[in-house]
Symmetry: C2
Subunit: 295 residues, 2 copies
């Protein structure tokens, strides 16, 4: 199928925009598309080519990357907006958004039935990882297909793990990843809320716990933003409403108990229900404030 | 009160034994006591002086360190077994075990009323941190008292945080620390249990999640032992039955909600209830296996 030089990138949000910047720095040509004109302008300003439509972006591309919100958007873009048809036969579609494994498997089947390749390739590391090209990339596809897109993964991530050949397996692993991410954010909020009620100095609590056996990646990343009143939004509350919902759907399908994920989901859901769905996910802390009647 | 050279060390378990080794390496003379003859023999073999009783260990000591199981043992040793009376006036007692803040405050009051000093000094970092002298030490006592025992903390820990002057404050911070430690262990077990039900390869799951935004200190430390059938015991299930119980007592006293800690406590408690209280705490995974009916 030849080398990969020209990439169609669909979905230019907080993650996608930063990944496009990395691809440009890595020497790729990028044709980007997003429904947001602001997002289109932002990638034009750094040297990517904004496209008039998703299908237009895919024309002449060597590969398509999808960093859309969910599986429904991926299906819309691929099958209704004409991306698969616009992409040359034999070229790969890389679905890097967080989607349910069963939806990913269905999408993969449709894409390959139409003569294109498919890589289930979700990531972990958030906007910080996207910006610095240090994402962890989980890939499920035949090894030969993964090999053709390694140069792309090399500029986006620090670690590539080939989870298996069957699309959906990487999505499942990403779901497990989100279980821990979501529970760890909520647990950090619970710790700060209790520390606050006990009269401890929260910056000191963060300093100690971030450097002890109590530490987590999320405590160190979200912890500082939990101590701000209105932090900048790095990832929204509603992302974890969705992702922990996906964890619970996955556990339900597997008939497995996931009580910690269920509690964490409730806390994010209630935060969203109070009108804070677009706030930074560190603000799940406010569900504890609401429960405890503190500020 | 002069320099500190000779230390009485009471409680020579998994943590205490390793801390005595560090103190000996750091040039201190150690007089140790434990109800277990095996533990006494073990410190004798590395150059410490086993004492005939706790009071005997404290006689002629420049400081007493308590690394006993709980507050009841600390009170027994200090006030009933005669340690405070045996220690010279003005010398410090360092309580490094995990105890409720309100018990620590009471003990501190009694010790200082008898003319000795007191430092509330719990640690985080587990047996690995004890062995390598990389513990995080949280200290609450008047600054002048903390200063006199800095040479001791310097060989036991990598980080010393002076939480405040009032004994009990460090114990509260340690309690918050244990909230995260306990929830993170249970969350790791929940993630592995779900991954297993979904047919993922668990060593691969650990490799990816231990190096992504899902990571925690506990995932990296306990995760490998969750993949073993009968791992060596580094810290027992019953320690977290106690410590998460302490978290919940603290939250109850503060009238604060701690739903994640409550769920995690249930999982450790049920594991202990099935007769596994002395097993390694990674085996909380078996509560998920019991719930899910898996092996």
């Amino acid at each position: 199928m030849g080398g990969v030089r020209r990439i169609a990138f669909i979905g230019l949000g907080a993650m996608g925009g930063r990944m496009v910047a990395r691809l440009l720095q890595g020497g790729f040509a990028v044709q980007g598309y997003d429904v947001s004109a602001v997002a289109q302008d932002a990638i034009a300003a750094i040297g990517a080519q904004p496209a008039a439509s998703a299908a237009e972006a895919a024309r002449d591309a060597d590969a398509v990357i999808l960093m859309v919100v969910d599986a429904a958007q991926a299906e819309q873009v691929l099958f209704e907006d004409g991306v698969v048809q616009a992409l040359a036969a034999g070229r790969p579609v890389l679905l890097m958004a967080t989607c349910p494994a069963w939806r990913v498997a269905e999408i993969a089947e449709q894409v390959t039935a139409l003569g294109r390749r498919f890589v289930d390739a979700p990531v972990s590391g958030g906007t910080a990882g996207a910006e610095t090209g240090t994402l962890t990339i989980m890939a499920a596809a035949p090894a030969a297909v993964v090999d053709t897109v390694r140069p792309i993964f090399a500029v986006l991530g620090r670690k590539l793990v080939h989870v298996g050949e069957r699309p959906g397996k990487a999505a499942t692993l990403k779901t497990i990843n989100q279980l821990l991410c979501g529970v760890h954010i909520a647990a950090a909020a619970e710790a700060f809320a209790l520390a606050s009620k006990c009269g401890l100095d929260l910056p000191l609590v963060l300093d100690v716990l971030g450097d002890s056996a109590a530490s987590s990646w999320m405590l160190k990343d979200r912890g500082p933003r939990m101590l701000e009143r209105d932090p900048a939004v790095s990832s929204a509350i509603d992302i974890f409403v969705k992702d922990l919902g996906l964890v619970l759907d996955t556990a339900r399908n597997a008939k497995a108990a996931a009580p910690l994920a269920a509690i964490a989901h409730q806390l994010f859901l209630a935060t969203s229900g109070r009108g804070l769905g677009a706030a930074d996910d560190s603000q799940v802390l406010r569900s504890y404030a609401a429960l405890n009647g503190t500020d």
